[in-house]
Symmetry: C2
Subunit: 100 residues, 2 copies
DNA sequence: TTAAATACATAGTATGTCCTATATGTAACC
DNA sequence: GGTTACATATAGGACATACTATGTATTTAA
């Protein structure tokens, strides 16, 4: 992603992952596809999987392996984290989204 | 800022600065104060001023010195950048706000 | 006219998000 | 079995955003 029209908008990957998983359980490729729909670019494997591993290691998401796929879901801790992060996000950027 | 309730939400500093300057011209401390109102924490000088310098160097903002203060305003290039960045931002995160 | 406060600047360091590879394991097909 | 495709994983490197700490002007107050 890097510079998007002159503005760096990296970051927020973990937040976006938590947001997507709060809607429905998904596996890595599904998450990548949903992010692509929003950002216009699909996060590379070397970006996405370390992030999933980090979230998993911090107990925010849980992965269940079935065949070649791992389906991730939010833990209760992940749900609480998502809720607080969202409150912060809205406080920071809500007005930008509300302005049209 | 670093981890905010378990989610990293670094980034977006340049975007937030452009947004604030699209509302009204401000000097560094004024921008810091506005960001503090939203994020809950004031960006440190070592964070804010390099960002302003970078935006200035890329021709997105213009600083006019008067005494010890430098009042920044968006250039026409900065306005265009802000508009495109906002479009992208809404596409990425608009639904989060819309969800209540 | 010092002293304090304000505004800006920079050096050095850390970290999460990015990338390009490369590698592993599973499934489906011929 | 062997090939192909898919899903996941890791190594190594780059960069913007963060921090702490220190430094330099300028303004204000004592």
């Amino acid at each position: 992603m890097a510079y998007v029209k002159g503005c760096d908008m990296r970051g927020m990957l973990s937040f976006q992952i938590l947001w997507l998983l709060s809607k429905k359980d998904m596996h890595g490729e599904g998450i990548a596809a949903e992010i692509e729909r929003r950002r216009g670019e699909k996060p590379k494997a070397g970006t996405l999987y370390p992030a999933l591993k980090d979230l998993s290691g911090r107990g925010l998401i849980l992965g269940k392996k079935s065949g070649k796929t791992i389906t991730y879901s939010l833990t209760s801790k992940g749900k609480a984290t998502m809720k607080e992060a969202k409150t912060y996000f809205v406080r920071c950027f809500g007005e930008i989204l509300a302005s049209g």
